[in-house]
Symmetry: C2
Subunit: 423 residues, 2 copies
């Protein structure tokens, strides 16, 4: 199971080398073979439900002994139902279209050569995550389906369950005739292993860190490998002068209160001055009834006095909690200036019936997802129709916003000729 390893660097480099070697077979594997592996993994997970739960129970007992926060223990704890959900998640990925090998329209050039692009896997994906053991199954499934090898490094609090799930993944790969090293779950909880992973740029093509801000910051500081990640989710809803008031209230309520701890939850509400007197009293009453602490600028507090004063730091804050910053702005320009200055380029929404203003907002706000008359909570791979999500990226290069199978691939150019040479 979880091994005591002395030479961490040597161990990790061996993991890297095996992943690179396995990646070639995964890249070549056809859709049927990959789907066969995924179905075999789902079956293995169902069969191993008991050992997975037993391993998880040990993890949870240790976590309680070490005094982990109840919220974390909650995220760590598996049940027969969540193990079944894990198996179903893997089957869902099997049902998604395979992006690999897809060739874009071949265009004939004046020389007669036909040029297109073929979608190909990236190679080896390193995923660093915390608590939730279901990420092990999810991430493995997404990497296999996109033809990539994966190195998974879960949190030490979940090591036993992660290893039990890893065993199911190996079984599935083997059953389909794919190399077991295609998905490796790091067997040591030593933090040095993460440092090693982040430096193995000859073996790892991209790093996906999933977790709290501390984890992401550490990965950003240490990694020599490109990342798919987001650091902050300071999301805004701007209620425009021409907003439908009922719609605005519904969206702003949902964007804040449907879930407090997610990265696409609204953290700052911006309201145009002309509608603030109609919108804020009703909306703030809803927030207060739900126990949301409000922190407003002077103009917001003049309209709804049951609000603390917002400090400069509030505009930068990702609360991930029932707290909301509120600012009254002159118009869409002031709203966009605010978002450009304080936002995190994650997800921002405008509520308005004015199409011209909406189009400006959609075009000019430089965030990974921009929305018109919809809740920021929709910024999610499933809601966007990707079928699954490996993470959300606020990077501009390669993949941006919710990242699914396509974001785990690249494109190469394909040229078909009939003997053409260059003149």
């Amino acid at each position: 199971m979880h091994r005591d390893i002395v030479d961490i660097a040597g161990y990790m480099r061996d993991v890297g080398r095996r992943a690179r070697a396995a990646s070639h077979a995964l890249a070549r594997a056809d859709t049927d073979t990959k789907n066969r592996a995924l179905h075999a993994i789902a079956t293995a997970i169902r069969h191993a439900c008991e050992p997975i739960l037993a391993a998880n129970a040990e993890d949870v007992a240790d976590a309680k002994k070490e005094g982990l926060e109840p919220a974390l223990i909650d995220r760590l704890t598996l049940s027969a139902k969540s193990v079944e959900a894990m198996a179903q998640g893997v089957e869902t990925v099997a049902g998604l279209p395979d992006p690999v090998g897809e060739v874009s329209e071949l265009r004939e050039q004046p020389t007669g050569i036909k040029v297109g692009r073929m979608r190909v896997p990236l190679g080896v994906i390193g995923i660093i995550y915390e608590s939730r053991p279901n990420v092990t199954a999810d991430a493995a499934a997404l990497c296999i389906k996109s033809g990539n090898a994966a190195i998974l490094r879960g949190g030490k609090e979940a090591i036993r369950a992660n290893q039990a799930i890893a065993e199911c993944v190996r079984t599935g790969l083997r059953d389909a005739g794919l190399p077991e090293d295609g998905v490796q779950v790091v067997e040591t909880t030593d933090r040095a292993a993460v440092g090693e992973l982040l430096r193995m740029n000859e073996f790892v093509d991209i790093i996906v860190p999933r977790g709290g801000k501390d984890l992401i910051e550490r990965v950003m500081a240490e990694s020599r490998i490109p990342m798919i990640k987001h650091l902050d989710g300071v999301c805004h809803v701007y209620i425009d002068a021409d907003a439908d008031v009922e719609m605005a209230i519904k969206i702003a309520d949902n964007a804040k209160t449907q879930r407090y701890g997610t990265c696409n939850t609204m953290e700052t509400l911006l309201v145009a001055e002309s509608v603030a007197p109609q919108v804020l009293p009703r909306l703030c009453k809803i927030y207060r009834e739900k126990g949301v602490e409000l922190r407003g600028d002077e103009r917001a507090r003049a309209i709804f006095p049951d609000m603390n004063p917002a400090a400069e730091a509030d505009w930068f804050a990702e609360y991930l909690a029932p707290i909301l910053a509120i600012r009254v702005v002159k118009d869409v320009d002031e709203a966009m200036e605010h978002i450009a200055r304080y936002g995190s380029q994650h997800t921002d929404a405008i509520v308005t019936a004015n199409e011209e203003r909406a189009r400006r907002f959609l075009r000019e706000v430089d965030s990974s997802s921009v929305m018109w008359n919809a809740s920021t909570r929709f910024a999610d791979g499933f809601e966007f129709g990707l079928g699954a999500e490996i993470g959300i990226s606020t990077e501009k290069l390669h993949a941006r916003g919710p990242v699914g199978l396509e974001g785990l691939t690249s494109q190469k150019w394909v040229v078909l000729g009939e003997g053409q040479v260059r003149g």
Copy 2:
């Protein structure tokens, strides 16, 4: 013109800050405005032909004094004709479709929201290049058209001509009402400026190094910013057992001898053993007549004795010269193994009439461009129909192969709702 700057770091950070500030206006600029700027730049270049040539003459005189190689002096030297070509190049970019703002098909999701992707500029592009002053105009045009700000750092041997061209670019931007800081040509030849540029990740989104291997290696070692680049172009042509011999000879001749110094020139020829006796004598005779030095493995030398023995280092070599390595292989598998081991993931071609083998080669060879029955010399933005090229990338993330306007952009998610909230 070229200034003596004491505080290089302060100067470069100021350049970075100005570029970032200008990038917002460029990102928002509509197609007409950007095209107006490009046409104004072309006009300014034509008007400034004399001062550009005078500045270039001073550069060339200095370069000769410093004993620069004739080949480099040749690449540095401008003429009235090359200045006109520069202006026309800028006009060509004006004629290309504008990728910015393009929205992919909006797909309605089960919740009723419509989800698509909008193409947006990357922000600020840093370009580091050598010798050829025409890169200043080319790169400026591509960055403007793709809505990006640019910081251009040319070689010290071309500083005067680059500054003269920069003046034309500023004029064009100003004429179109765009910020002059949209394209800045670094005014110091101090090498420390490059180091600064590579570390300013808050101001620069991507670095494009164009030049020799020394330059690329330095940039790779120092950069904290993602790159569009290739280091080596060790390109292969594999002549399969089922190749049309006439076609194979034509392609292998062109891939090596059409130009020796380009990154998409073939450096190693692989020939299936069954056709080697028909292909090699005729092909090698052509090479020898053109003065190409041949370095072959034993089996190739047995067929064509006027050949030096190849050493292990030859299989890794990017000669950029009239030298060719030749190996006889068993079949397509051995050819692909050779390419995987010694190649640089740039451009590789198969010549065959066997479709199944060709499809395997296209799918399994992990290079930025893979070709069937065409010369590797086609790996080029113009030949691929991109209209222009900022460089060729052997990176897998973001942009791969010839990179045009699209490679200088990213995509953000756009969500259109009618008041939907997440359930």
